[in-house]
């Protein structure tokens, strides 16, 4: 039973805002710039510049919402709702061609998929990009370790599993050790007894992505990572349905 026996209005913070602010704070303290960008993108920024070839099955990895071509603007490049905040990597690097670069970009993304308790057509991601001379999976790992320890407010382990994203090579899925049961308790609702929770994709920036924006990949290397904000909120706060976040429902928000 929940009681609120005072008339004093308490502060309610949307769990998504709380998560974004935590992300921003932790990365800001590591010297990352916060940046933001358009949700309506051209095919170039969402796919081409990120080394996702045209007419390639890799584009099917994310089902895209396409914009109906406007009669007033014939011949204009196809537009879409960004399927990933990774498009911001390209925008930022085009404007800032002189590394080192450290950015973090949270924002809304869209994918055309049937919705259920764990899938949404509108959700938020955060993208991180780090470009410098000494960059490897090991530096990536150190940054993510700091982030997840601070985010979950406890010491969590990180593991990399091989994966594929066209804009990184090598690419990896990032799992964190279960912050709930600390390692494979049967029936744990968070990790399902595996001891690990999948939280983001990451990797070393593909040289083509750097070259596409005019940064010499022989001189500079980068790592990038991206994760779902709703997913982190669901994990951290035990929220059971992703659709609650975008429904303007204060039965969710005012719990926090």
């Amino acid at each position: 039973m929940n009681t609120n026996n005072s008339d004093k209005e308490s502060v309610h913070i949307h769990p998504i805002t709380r998560v974004i602010n935590d992300i921003n704070k932790i990365f800001f303290e590591m010297g990352f710039n916060l940046t933001d960008g358009p949700e309506l993108e051209t095919e170039y920024y969402n796919f081409d510049a990120l080394n996702v070839p045209k007419d390639h099955p890799a584009r099917d990895m994310q089902d895209t919402f396409w914009i109906k071509p406007s009669k007033d603007m014939p011949g204009v490049e196809r537009r879409l709702l960004r399927t990933q905040t990774s498009a911001m990597q390209v925008h930022y690097m085009e404007e800032n061609k002189n590394p080192p670069i450290r950015i973090i970009c949270p924002g809304k993304t869209y994918r055309k998929e049937a919705t259920d308790a764990t899938h949404e057509m509108q959700f938020q991601q955060f993208e991180g990009l780090y470009v410098d001379k000494e960059v490897s999976l090991a530096t990536l790992k150190s940054v993510l370790n700091v982030f997840f320890d601070k985010f979950f407010e406890k010491d969590v382990d990180i593991r990399f599993r091989p994966s594929y994203f066209p804009f990184v090579e090598p690419g990896a899925e990032i799992d964190i050790s279960c912050f709930k049961c600390n390692g494979g308790e049967a029936g744990c609702p968070v990790c399902k007894g595996t001891g690990w929770v999948e939280v983001m994709g990451a990797g070393v920036v593909h040289p083509k992505v750097l070259n596409n924006v005019g940064i010499d990949s022989n001189k500079w290397k980068g790592f990038a990572f991206g994760g779902g904000i709703e997913r982190l909120a669901m994990l951290k706060y035990g929220i059971d349905d992703i659709r609650l976040f975008n429904s303007g429902d204060l039965r969710l928000v005012n719990q926090f």
Partner: protein, 641 residues
Amino acid sequence: MKVSYNWINEYFDNKAPNPEKIDDLLTMHSMEVEGLDKKNNDTVIDVKTLPNYNHSCLCHRGIAREVGVVADIKLNLYSRNFKDFSISKTSKNLRVIIEDGKFCRRYIGRVIENIKVGPSPEWLKNKLETLGQRSINNIVDATNFVMLEIGQPMHAFDSDKIGTEIVVKNAVAGQKITTLDKKEVDLDENILLITDGINPLAIAGIKGGNFAELEMNTKNIILESANFDPVLIRKTAQRIKIQTDASKRYENDFSAEIASEAMDILTKLIVEIAGTSETRVGEIVDNYPTKAEKIQLGISAKEASSIIGVEIKDSDVEDIFNRFQFVWKKEGDQFVITVPDERLDLRIKEDLAEEIGRIYGYEKIKDIPVPKNTEKVKIDKGFAYKEKIRRILYEEGFSEVINYTFVENGQIELANPMSPERKFLRTNLTDGLKDSLEFNARYSELIEMPQVKIFEFGHVFKNSGEESNFAIGIKNPLGLKKPKEKEVLDNTLKILSEKLGVSLQKINKDENIAEFNFEKMIEKLPEIAEYDFSEIGDRTKRFKKISQFPFMIRDIAVFTPEGIKEEDVFSVIKNEAGELVIKSRLFDVFTKTFEDGTKKTSYAYRLIFQSYDRTLTDEEVNAIMTKITEKMNANTGWQVR
């Protein structure tokens, strides 16, 4: 991609690790295993092959090779021995003509005469059935076997129904083909066909036609082992809306080199399972206009180390490349491999670094901290002001909402909406806020907001472009007269305007909602020196499930003798009401001196009843209220009013 464990195991003469071990090894070093499904004394392993593996791993050999590498065990070239044969050659000539070598990179044809179409042997039927495929007949099953074994789609035509020519050419507009499953498909000049010169026999790389379909009495066949342009197949399959096991492999691109090997094993298998004493096999007719290149690719141990971030030694690279069975040589510090034909994913140094890293083991990577950022981090004005505004509004009792970008009407339309109600991108936040206000006003008691006060930051989309907007809204639930929505809104805007130091011009007309263009709003404001990350609110809160069932409200007020505290009253409610009261609120307290001089304090509570698994009835709730009333009245000097 679903593969059979038993089939994989045959590559290793049944010495492969068990399915659970394979799951572990592949997941940590190669590709994610999505499921192990026991079936017919076998285990179906469902591996998630991503585009980089889809060139080589949409078949058992590809997956078996990955197992071989990650488990460090040798494997055979095939899962079974294909028996060599020595039978007479057919004298029948076959010609293969390719009109455009860009789209048909290679086409191998071969005639086989005097075979007997019939049921497949049990081992073959079992293999297909385990993988959820229907056994058709020995010839068709053999073609499917070869595709599942090494990834090359194969096709067989009844050669008596066609002449001695295979012509690969584009369809003409208006032409039609009837597929094997009796569907008529309209063709156009961008669709590549396999023809006999005149009649369409198949849509290249996608689906066979019924013109030269095999029948039970078919005796003579032409086999196809071909390679087509992946983009062409992908576009065609999407346009005619036919996706097949073959088209999936073609659109993912695989090496044209394996076509001859595939033809060789298919021939041997057909002779074995459909051959007769009269069987004659023709020479292969290999038309190969776009030959796959041999690629050399090198990396040094130092380069691999710098990408992975652990010290990789020459001996590590040697060992790992040997596990992959790469043909390699050392040139200076570079290990140069001849990229295996199937490995279309190995094209740059970083690809090799990944192969080295994942086999060496990502678990061995230790953190290398990044240096401190010596440059001052720029403060983003948008982020900073959003947080500033949020904090002003939290103080005024507002909550933030996030609404959908998709709406029924707008200016920017989706080409492929989820539903007609979500066809456009929103042009304002106001409409969404109206719905949220309406929705939440119904839950005013549940959400503990006597007056619903919300705000949203979000992008809106117009023909003129994408804008970042901000809106706040207020709604009184039914029955609440004061304070008036407009007054509270005006007052809030005044506070906002004062605290920000900017005059606010709303862009909408609604009385209870104010929307602003956020960028214009902060345009004239000074830069902010620091982000406000200071602690606010209660970060220890965790989610409580939201019931989908209606809630009920009951009020109870009780006079209590002097000295009785709020907690005492509440504990009675708590004991009697149990789980069904999800919220309670003390909404009135006063003390009254009665005529006899006694002082009594009245406590009035509002109770919200709701169940997680059913709709509560009046009777049920009334019964609880009666119990609470009885308990209270049983206390000396207590009187429920």
